[in-house]
């Protein structure tokens, strides 16, 4: 049986990764709203490039980092919802979780493309978030596929 509820190691690994994502996105949201560069060690210049680029706010208003934070908090909510509630939609959480994670992976892929080929500067925080979202999506996939007839 591979459902969300009972696959213990996968479930707790996903929670740990979601919390990593919340931490990364929360930090990037903070620096974005305060208007400072993130701490990037030797890649300080690259981080400055990425975090002052024209792509850093959607519509010039919504910071991409805040969108990422909302994404990870939504995943956290679904994780909780799928684990400890018995509402009529609780059974849908594996699918909802996987689809949301997939959206995160696709958008992260776009952001990584921008960093690599347009901005030519890599922000390790952004790469970390992209990798985290990808692993979460991979771990969530079996539970969603298990819902298929």
């Amino acid at each position: 049986m591979k459902t969300w509820r009972v696959s213990g190691w996968r479930r707790w690994t996903v929670l740990a990764l979601v919390l990593v994502g919340v931490t990364i996105a929360g930090y990037l949201t903070y620096v974005s709203l305060v208007g400072i560069d993130p701490a990037c060690g030797g890649l300080r210049s690259d981080c400055h490039t990425v975090h002052t680029s024209r792509y850093v706010r959607i519509g010039g208003v919504l910071p991409v980092a805040l969108l990422g934070l909302i994404f990870y908090l939504a995943l956290l909510r679904l994780w909780w919802w799928g684990g400890w509630t018995q509402g009529p939609f609780a059974g849908w959480t594996p699918l909802a979780f996987f689809e949301l994670a997939l959206a995160g992976v696709l958008f992260s892929a776009y952001l990584t493309y921008l960093e690599t080929f347009v901005l030519r500067a890599m922000c390790p925080w952004c790469v970390g978030s992209a990798v985290t979202a990808t692993v979460i999506c991979g771990l969530a996939a079996p539970a969603a596929l298990d819902m298929l007839e």
């Binding site: 049986m1 459902t3 509820r5 009972v6 208007g35 400072i36 560069d37 300080r44 210049s45 400055h48 490039t49 975090h51 002052t52 680029s53 024209r54 792509y55 850093v56 959607i58 519509g59 010039g60 018995q86 509402g87 009529p88 939609f89 609780a90 059974g91 849908w92 699918l95 689809e99 949301l100 997939l102 959206a103 696709l106 958008f107 776009y110 921008l114 347009v118 901005l119 030519r120 500067a121 969603a144 819902m147 298929l148 007839e149």
Partner: protein
């Protein structure tokens, strides 16, 4: 764990199983429909992001030229340098590659270099850029520019910026008044907006003719592009 699967078109939530788990099954068609909707939604978001990030102008003539210039006004080619005083790659360019290009092209009358500020995120960068413009009021922009890059990583607070003016022998009263009043702030921000309209998304970036270069590239790349644009301009004049 027990789970009862019943055929259900499109997917339906079932009653909790004996273990208390609510179980849902869905058809492959429904799964792919939902997945396609997610992909479509992300594609719309990406399209919007790419659209808002597009360049709004494509040639030098479409932007105001009000940066700081080095070289003859008669030079056949202008190279715009979009730079930030807190950017390490910008400093490396300014202190190495730019000096080679200056000797090779600017001093021989082939190229005119023009500096443009690109400030978006950091208030300290803005302060440094305003200070450089205040130095420009005393015709010492490039000296102040070089000093800022030589001291890259040092504090850019007002006291340090004024100390640099002292080191360069600038009129301290005039410099302090300019800096404290933020007189050149609008000019710096205008430079930044011009850069954005050209699609400048990173520092350092360069516009040579209609060619945009990004990052601190090897001097050979600059030579190649400058040579090609000069040749193109010559052939256009010839025809």
């Amino acid at each position: 764990m027990v789970r009862k699967k019943k055929k259900a078109k499109g997917g339906e939530p079932r009653s909790p199983s004996r273990s208390g788990e609510t179980v849902v099954t869905l058809s492959r068609r429904t799964f792919w429909l939902v997945t396609s909707a997610v992909v479509l939604w992300v594609a719309l978001l990406v399209s919007y992001s790419a659209w808002q990030g597009r360049p709004k102008a494509s040639t030098v003539s479409e932007v105001l030229i009000q940066g700081k210039v080095k070289g003859s006004p008669e030079a056949p080619l202008t190279m715009l340098i979009f730079s930030d005083f807190q950017c390490g790659h910008c400093g490396s360019f300014a202190l190495t590659t730019a000096r080679e290009l200056e000797e090779e092209y600017v001093n021989t009358g082939k190229l005119r270099m023009e500096f443009k500020h690109v400030i978006v995120g950091s208030p300290a960068s803005l302060g440094a850029a305003v200070a450089a413009e205040c130095a420009a009021e005393q015709n010492r922009f490039w000296d102040y520019h070089d000093l800022l890059y030589e001291r890259l990583g040092a504090s850019l607070d007002a006291d340090h910026l004024k100390q640099y003016a002292v080191e360069l022998g600038l009129d301290q009263a005039a410099f302090g008044e300019c800096l404290d009043a933020g007189k050149q702030r609008e000019r710096v921000l205008q430079n930044t907006l011009e850069g954005r309209d050209l699609g400048i998304t990173a520092t350092p970036s360069f516009l040579i003719g209609d060619e945009i270069l990004r990052g601190h590239l090897p001097v050979s790349t600059f030579r190649e592009v400058i040579g090609a644009v000069l040749m193109k301009n010559m052939s256009e004049i010839g025809s």
